[in-house]
Amino acid sequence: MLRLESVFIRQDDFSLTMDMSVPAGTRAAVIGPSGAGKSTFLGAIAGFVPVTAGHVIWDGQDMTGQNPSDRPISTLFQDNNLFPHLTAFQNIALGLKPSLRVTATEREQIDQALARVGLSGYGARKPAQLSGGQQSRVALARVLLRAQPLLLLDEPFSALGPALKSEMLTLVSDICAETNATLLMVTHDVGDARAIADKTILVADGHASGPFPTAELLDNPPPALRAYLG
């Protein structure tokens, strides 16, 4: 279970409070108006945004103040999820061995992950030689291989067309099922939330609340959300 215990974040004149429990295995969308702090919310959990007060706890372990790489988390950012000078294979291998010195078994695992996202034989290509959708798949193959219990998505598919995006979301949903991961996914599209997230976290007015059951929340939105949905 992910527990956010009276977490408070202050950055200049922006502040965000959050206090919630997200049970393990939850797939939650994170929605709210632009600038309300959705990325800050994820950043605090991932360890990029320092927490002013409170605790971020995973499975009883206090992660507050830990390095991002020490947390049991995979993150996909809006962009820059791949190193442009490394091949798809190397980009995935980084998830297993930051030194890139992989053994024969690990090599096999990486090839399997590539196959799992439908990119068999693309391992030697560099990101520039891959389409946007293929780049997302490479990043997802690394997520699959790292098999971290928490997966944070900060709108990594926002540049893809609708069909590709829904394909990626299905893949994410499958990967979460295979690895028993808890998913927190920032999105601007309530359709995404309805499609794969049974729960939704609302970030608005300096406060993160939830998780609420997605369908109920979207059918009867509170005033802050109603203003955003229009």
Binding site: N67, P68, D70, S74, F83, H85, Q90, L94, L100, K126
Partner: protein
């Protein structure tokens, strides 16, 4: 475990950055301390020394002023004309930066010297020959060096004026004069002080130009006076005192430069073609073309003369020249390695810690440092422990590395900052720290600026004639020093051949490293 590697990496950055910083303090200020200690209680400066101070300031003023003033019309002509080979010409204007001073001097002598092209022409029409040595010779050499630099700086200013403004100016019916007043003059007002200061700083520490083009006591810079007090008068006290004077000059100029934003002349973006509508009539066209041609000839003829005169004599060069070339190559490669290692360590530390700005300042401080002052200081520091002559090449290498550091830092630090911004978080979540991060992420992404910085350092170090003159005896000369000996012995043919070897090696070093940086540096 990852937590440990992150912490270890940070600690390592701190230690490496701290060591580099400490070394830079020793180099830039510790040497000065040794000098100051030694200078204590010695007699005041002589009249000739004050003349050297005056000459240093006057020639630096004239050189910087003339370079900048002449650069304005040339850059303006280049900015508004499109022609074949324009990009090549602009690239060539970057060449003097890595051109060994003595090679440039020899090239200029071949044109303006006693039996140079111009004097031969004067004699042919029955006019008296003129003497190049003295103030005008020093200024000529400095303008040869810095006019292209100033032109490149100003071209960047022109490139920074949005193309839409020129379009607007055209739609409002601006004449070239209006365009100058409304668009170009404000840009020049902002850029000229910085360009002037950069060149003034470069000329302030002029040693080899004054050594070869100066004319005796009336045309001696402070740097040259330090060398003479050191080598000919064996007067350490006076050398030390002069070193302090030189440091004061550099410090004042450096502080002024610190207040004025110095322009960046090494970057690209100058060959961007902007469509211009204010190209005027045929007269203006002819005027612009003439300006560009004159600028190009002033740059190219001396270089062509070096090549033509040197080529027949390369094969017959004495063995000492080739040995000296080998030594210079070792020094240049060593300096390149040291510079890159120090710059990487310092750049990482600048970004990793609060107060990093101070480290950045320390890395750039060598811009205003004088190699001869540092050399004098190191000589005095080594003297009680060992024979300084035994360390001639090592000291030359280390001082060269320190001198190239500001340029390398200005290339590498911004690139490292960009890598952090774009890929830092990804590397963080993947637990890439320390050496693995350096090997897998940072170095491959830095390849281009690294190659360029390595090329600059190697070429600058290859052609440098400075500290080595304080330290070396007959044995163990570098190629520039050997070339200077040949020149002073009036062995014109050997000098021409050696100059061509020096020119070729410097350019080849730059080319090889820069090319290495360009290949595989995709995305």
């Amino acid at each position: 475990m990852t937590r440990d590697t992150a912490r270890t990496a940070r600690l390592f950055t701190l230690i490496a950055g701290g060591m580099v910083a400490a070394w830079l303090v020793v180099l830039n200020f510790g040497a000065l301390g040794a000098v100051a200690f030694r200078a204590e209680g010695f007699s005041a400066l002589r009249g000739a020394d004050w003349a050297a101070v005056r000459f240093t300031l006057v020639q630096a003023m004239l050189s910087a002023g003339l370079s900048v003033l002449l650069a304005i019309p040339i850059a303006r002509a280049l900015a508004r004309r499109q022609f074949r080979g324009r990009g090549l010409l602009i690239t060539l204007m970057g060449a003097p930066f890595i051109l060994p001073t003595l090679v440039a001097v020899l090239g200029l002598l071949a044109v303006f010297g006693r039996s140079g092209l111009i004097n031969q022409a004067l004699e042919w029409v029955g006019l008296a020959r003129f003497n190049i040595f003295g103030l005008h010779g020093v200024v000529l050499a400095h303008v040869f060096y810095n006019l292209p630099l100033a032109t490149r700086i100003l071209l960047q200013g022109w490139a920074a004026i949005p193309a839409e403004r020129f379009r607007l100016a055209a739609s409002l019916g601006f004449t070239p004069r209006d365009t100058f007043r409304q668009l170009e003059a404000p840009m020049l007002r902002a850029l000229l002080p910085g360009a002037f200061l950069v060149i003034f700083l470069i000329c302030l520490t002029s040693f080899s130009v004054a050594l070869t083009m100066g004319g005796g006591p009336r045309a001696t810079t402070v740097e040259l006076a330090i060398y003479q007090a050191f080598r000919f008068d064996y007067d350490m006290g006076r050398a030390a005192l002069l070193a302090l004077v030189q440091f004061a000059l550099c410090a004042v100029a450096g502080l002024i430069a610190w207040r004025v934003a110095l322009p960046q002349a090494l970057g690209g973006g100058m060959d961007r073609a902007v469509q211009r509508f204010d190209t005027g009539g045929a007269a203006l066209q002819i005027w612009d073309n003439a300006l560009i041609a004159c600028g190009a000839l002033f740059l190219l003829i001396p270089l062509a003369m070096i090549t033509l005169r040197g080529l027949p004599h390369v094969v017959a060069l004495p063995a000492e020249v080739w040995q000296a070339a080998g030594r210079s190559l070792v020094v240049a490669l060593g300096a390149t390695g040291v510079t890159l290692a120090m710059t990487l360590a310092l750049a990482h530390a600048v970004l990793a810690f609060r107060g990093g700005a101070f480290l950045e300042w320390l890395g750039l401080a060598a811009l205003a440092a004088s190699p001869l002052v540092i050399g004098t200081g190191l000589f005095l520091l080594i003297q009680p422990l060992a024979n300084p002559r035994d360390f001639a090449l090592l000291v030359t290498m280390l001082v060269n590395a320190g001198m190239a550091m500001p340029f390398a830092l200005r290339l590498i630090l911004p690139a490292l900052r960009d890598i952090r911004a774009a890929q830092g978080r990804l590397a963080d979540v993947l637990g890439l720290h320390g050496l693995a991060r350096l090997r897998i992420v940072t170095l491959p992404r830095l390849r281009r600026p690294l190659g360029f910085a390595a090329g600059l350092t190697a070429a600058l170090s290859m052609g440098d004639l400075g500290v080595i003159m304080l330290f070396a005896e007959r044995e163990g000369a570098t190629l520039p020093m050997q070339l200077y000996r040949l020149m002073s012995a009036y062995r014109q043919d050997d000098a021409a051949g050696a100059a061509l070897v020096l020119l070729g090696t410097s350019l080849a070093l730059f080319w090889v490293f820069d090319q290495w940086g360009r290949t595989n540096a995709e995305a």
